[in-house]
Subunit: 258 residues, 2 copies
DNA sequence: TCGCCCACACCTGTATACAAGTGCGCAGTC
DNA sequence: GACTGCGCACTTGTATACAGGTGTGGGCGA
């Protein structure tokens, strides 16, 4: 591991060639790119939990100066993907399987709140779109990957409907950690039993405009996912660090055994 | 406004004289101190919502270089207390009274989860301590300040019991925003009706070990506080920026109309 | 052979220097 | 008088230089 690719080959010297928004392109440069890269590597396990990250080494490896590296590390620290050492400096946040449950609990509440908010803002065509996703999911219920993909869409739809930036911002942080634990477990082997029904329960509640039920259904759904994930994390292999080679999800709507 | 005191007079040239933990003292230096200072000023309204914050100006005013200022701004940005401008740079996050409700909603769920977790970890003496706080609160129920102070203690106790670092970390971020809205409203004039009973409901649920009830009671409690805060924010004065001169709360357990 | 002490190498934190992009203002012109 | 074009000043982002502190490893002495 720790074979972090050169940043220049990863994002180019000055952002992507086709930046739709110049301001975004500007933000994509340097520090932001380092942040995204490191974040992905922490999530997918390329950077091993507990590993010390030193600024000069990262800077040299990525072909940039310490300044953007430092900034990226601060962002990762704010997100708790790296933890500070008593003497200064940081290391990759350790993975504690027992903590996975906690992460899921928080995620469940935040997504539950999103479902509640979505209830109050959903228009008929939104409801129809959700229902369509559930139908779609039902149609492919034996293909786990497809179920997961549609599930991600479903959650993304709910989040968009809720339009709650506070929830979304916090959720994004939590999602990074959720994705870490998912990468740790054997990919895909989390089971999707009852996924269709659980999503349908949420969709139905939203359709009825029943905010309380929607929130409860979402929490139940994610709690069950948490139980599956917990099982997958404890059962298969030793609890030691087991980085997978799976793709590195980096942003919203990627988290999904949901 | 914008009469930010010199950082050197605020924290001294190299941390406080009596740092109990040298590592902490080290972190307290420079960037961290700038962060805390700016955070406090944003929360208490000294830094006006929407105000542009430029690195050279802040650096000069605080007597440090741009480097620690920059780092502090990044932390504040991660916390959404400042927002980035399209052209780069940041401004103090605008205050939207309609958004206060959203912030409280999130806080309610997080604290609700803390209450739930506290249930599963509370020992008899913990339960007794919570009950004592409720009794104390009841005894001073006519003194709003005292009620708020004890309320803060109560919430701190729950948080400590829950021992859920994920929740606590997210809650800290949310609390900064809650405190901002509280500073915007007339201090103390939020009303504390039924505070005692609401806290008692939480304490009783914890005593019974009824996690579901504890979570629900906490959510109800904070939702009611939210309604009071919302009322205070909309009613008294114009919705324009109205910084108060009240003390600047800077960390956990300071948030309380709870 | 074990323990202690010193010195080095390293790393963080801060300051300063440099380059590039952007917005604003002023002057000139129609 | 209004519009347009140019130029300046400012700001951010990055790189580099410098100082302070810490941990480690080797050497020396008991």
């Amino acid at each position: 591991m720790t074979t972090t690719p050169d940043l220049r080959t990863a994002v180019g010297p000055r952002g992507r060639p086709q930046g739709p928004d110049p301001a975004l392109a500007r933000r994509q440069s340097g520090a932001r790119a380092v942040y995204e890269l490191l974040r992905g590597h922490i999530i997918d396990g390329t950077l091993v939990p507990g590993e010390r990250l030193t600024e000069p080494v990262l800077a040299g490896r990525l072909g940039v100066s310490r300044t953007p590296v430092r900034e990226a590390l601060r962002l990762l620290q704010a997100e708790a993907l790296v933890v500070e050492l008593p003497t200064g400096g940081v290391r990759v946040a350790p993975l504690d399987v027992a903590d996975a449950r906690r992460v899921y609990e928080v995620r469940a509440r935040l997504e539950g709140l999103l479902a509640r908010d979505a209830c109050e803002r959903a228009w008929p065509d939104d409801v129809a779109r959700l229902a369509r996703l559930v139908t779609l999911m039902d149609a492919v219920r034996d293909h786990e990957d497809e179920v997961l993909r549609i599930g991600a869409q479903f959650h993304g739809e709910i989040e968009a409907l809720a339009d709650n930036r506070w929830c979304s911002a916090l959720l994004r942080q939590i999602r990074g950690h959720v994705d870490r634990y998912r990468a740790l477990a054997a990919r895909g082997r989390v089971g999707t039993t009852d996924h269709v029904d659980e999503h349908r329960a949420v969709a139905d509640a939203v359709a009825r405009g029943d905010a309380v039920a929607a929130e409860a259904a979402m929490i139940t759904h994610i709690d069950r996912s948490a139980a599956l994930a917990d099982q997958a994390l404890r059962a298969p292999t030793d609890p030691a660090v087991t980085p997978t080679t799976g793709a590195a999800p980096t942003d919203a709507a990627t988290t999904d055994e949901s």
